[in-house]
């Protein structure tokens, strides 16, 4: 789970995405901390309802792409204009800039290559995904048609359980921190 918690956690199982979304909103407005929701598919608006920050992966992808662009510029400059310039179809090669129109396709491809691959590696890394990793979801039903919510228990346990039942939870269990 990554970080250690001081409070025990209550797990509640739901069987509908709209119900779980409503439950998250309700619990948070009542001061509970919803620490995780495991779902079989992305639920529109859940990240906002849980108060999650926007991911920065797209910003990272922009800079990865920029790296690819600079690499391609350097590579074409070094190989075609600096190390061994040759007359190819009379194309001007005294300066990289004059020769650059010929390099646009490769510069574009390497921009995309770097942006896409490095972003995916980052995505795997921040999510802790790698071949053979242990399944992160505690209940296998959450990749089928169930939704598992984890709420941090603060204060009265019975009140929380009652609340979760009212909100539509099918099963409730408690795990100690």
């Amino acid at each position: 789970m990554g970080h250690t918690k001081h409070n025990p956690t209550v797990r509640a199982l739901f069987n509908d995405d709209d119900v779980v979304l409503g439950a998250v909103k309700d619990l948070r407005s009542n001061g509970y901390e919803v620490s995780e929701v495991y779902s079989p598919f992305p639920i529109h608006g859940l990240d906002e309802a849980m108060g999650l920050k926007r991911t920065r992966l797209s910003t990272a992808a922009f800079f990865y792409g920029l790296t690819g662009l600079f690499f391609a510029s350097w590579l074409t400059y070094y190989t075609m204009n600096l190390d061994w310039p040759q007359n190819i179809g009379g194309k001007p090669n005294s300066m990289w800039f004059l020769n650059m129109p010929s390099f646009v396709p490769v510069m574009f491809e390497l921009t995309v290559f770097f942006a896409a691959h490095l972003m995916c590696w980052s995505y795997f890394a921040v999510n802790g995904l790698y071949p053979g990793a242990k399944a992160q979801n505690p209940d296998p039903r959450t990749t089928d048609d169930h939704f598992l919510m984890e709420v941090e228990l603060e204060g009265d346990e019975d009140a929380l359980n009652k609340k979760l039942k009212e909100l539509g939870a099918l099963e409730i269990s408690k795990i100690e921190a």
Partner: protein, 462 residues
């Protein structure tokens, strides 16, 4: 929130729940292969082996075993290369461009279309590799420091641009596909009973658990990859067309090539998606997910891109006449009336005439008719590349060197082999991978499922 206009037809038929989707999509992976699968696989595997033999013979003896001659020094190899790359384009178009346009009907077909992309780009990549003759020198296309100076690759050459375009396209399509596959592999992992199967899908699913933050990142990564893949797919066939357009051969040296090639690629790719999915939905009983609505949408794309290709053919003819260049004029006259007239008119019939039937709703919603047209279109698109390549060079500036091309059994064998290889990969995929992006499909069940739409109509919008 889950409301959608009743004007739109449902995309998921029948009274389905989330768990029905899970069961239906996991079924082909968990059950024994149907007899039809084994028959298809055996045929494809024999074709593949025949192709392997012909490729080994080519590598061992040299490309002299092909039907090439001094005048026609590019023929089936490059025709097949362009044909396979073009077919690949529809997968990216469906998964990336239709994602950017928020087209929900893509969700039932994007997984298989992307699989088709990857498998056909693999076939395409084989041709330049074996055409090198000395395939063990293939790494020379990479800019690697070497003992000759260093003598670098030529970044001014469209053939090298192609190396970068195809390898970027293949690898980026693969990661795009895989990112989407991970949650679906996790679904199969979580319900697997057989321990070997469970272990394999555990490896493949990378530990995915469907946490809220991970889904948020998943959606962001999918969107950015779609944004990157869209210009990428357009660039790939543009660069393929540069292989011809930047030369000074009459019939090749035209600025219309990039958009014309891209439209042709989408056209042939959608036809191949139709061919494959009409079979998949039947064999694996996916008719509720890949239904007539999807088929009709794809037929409309085929009709539109086929017409764009038709306009491009006519524009080429017009510009050849209007240019006043006699060599250019002869190249086109020779295509239509020369010794390869049959290839030209086969291309015209298959690519321009046959998709026009799709204007009729009755025909574009007819499965058998769609299947026939999808095959016709792919034959036509193969002829298009053959016409562009062989008829442009078989009669050059010196009439004494005019010649014809006839393929040897090796040319034919390699082509058949790649078709076999493609189907071997696709059939293995269809048995072991979730063929529909089920996690994505579940997000549209409440808005586009038949039962939910009916419920909305009867009980009001909310």
């Amino acid at each position: 929130m889950h409301y959608e206009s009743p004007v739109r037809n449902p995309l998921i038929l029948g009274d389905k729940s989330y768990s029905d989707i899970t069961n239906d999509i996991a079924k082909p992976v968990e059950s024994k292969a149907p007899r039809a699968w084994w028959i298809a696989f055996s045929i494809a595997f024999i074709m593949f082996l025949w192709g392997v033999g012909c490729i080994l013979y080519t590598i061992g003896t040299g490309i002299g075993v092909w039907g090439l001659n001094k005048t026609v020094d590019w023929a089936w190899d490059i025709t097949n290369f362009v044909w396979w790359v073009g077919i690949g384009h529809a997968g990216t178009l469906i998964s990336a461009v239709l994602l950017l346009f928020r087209q929900k009907w893509r969700m039932a077909i994007n997984r298989s279309a992307e699989a088709m992309t990857i498998f056909s780009v693999i076939q395409a990549g084989l041709f330049p590799l074996i055409h090198m003759g000395r395939i063990w020198m293939a790494y020379w296309v990479m800019p690697i420091p070497n003992q000759y100076g260093s003598l670098w690759v030529n970044f001014n050459s469209p053939l090298l641009w192609d190396v970068f375009a195809i390898s970027t396209y293949l690898t980026v399509s693969t990661v795009f596909w895989y990112v989407g596959l991970i949650p679906d592999f996790a679904m199969i992992r979580d319900r697997a009973i057989n321990p070997v199967q469970k272990h394999i899908y555990k490896l493949l699913s990378f530990g995915w658990g469907g946490k809220a933050k991970h889904w948020q990142r998943f959606e962001e990564v999918s969107l950015v990859l779609a944004g990157l893949a869209t210009p990428l797919v357009l660039s790939v066939h543009t660069i393929v067309s540069f292989d011809f357009a930047t030369s000074v051969i009459p019939g090749w040296h035209t600025t219309i090539f990039p958009p014309y090639f891209v439209a042709g690629a989408i056209f042939s790719g959608f036809a191949m998606v139709q061919t494959l999915l009409l079979i998949v939905r039947k064999i694996f009983k996916m008719e509720d997910y890949i239904n007539i609505e999807h088929i009709e949408m794809m037929n409309i794309v085929i009709m539109v891109t086929g017409s764009i290709v038709g306009v491009a053919y006519i524009t080429e003819l017009f510009i050849a006449w209007y240019s006043g260049v006699e060599y250019e004029q002869y190249a086109f006259l020779n295509r239509a009336t020369g010794p390869y007239f049959w290839a030209y008119w086969a291309m015209m019939t298959c690519n321009v005439f046959s998709p026009q039937f799709m204007w009729f709703k009755k025909l574009r919603t007819n499965l058998i008719f769609t299947f026939v047209i999808s095959i016709v279109v792919n034959i036509g698109m193969w002829f298009e590349r053959f016409v562009i390549i062989v008829t442009s060079i078989h009669r050059d500036y010196l009439p004494s060197s005019w010649s014809m091309f006839s393929p040897t059994f090796v040319d034919i064998g390699i082509y058949i082999g790649t078709i076999g290889f493609f189907f071997v990969l696709f059939l293995l995929y269809a048995r072991t991978f979730p063929v529909i992006a089920q996690a994505e499909l579940k997000t549209i069940l409440k808005s586009s499922g038949e039962n939910f739409k009916k419920h909305h109509d009867e009980h009001g919008a909310h």
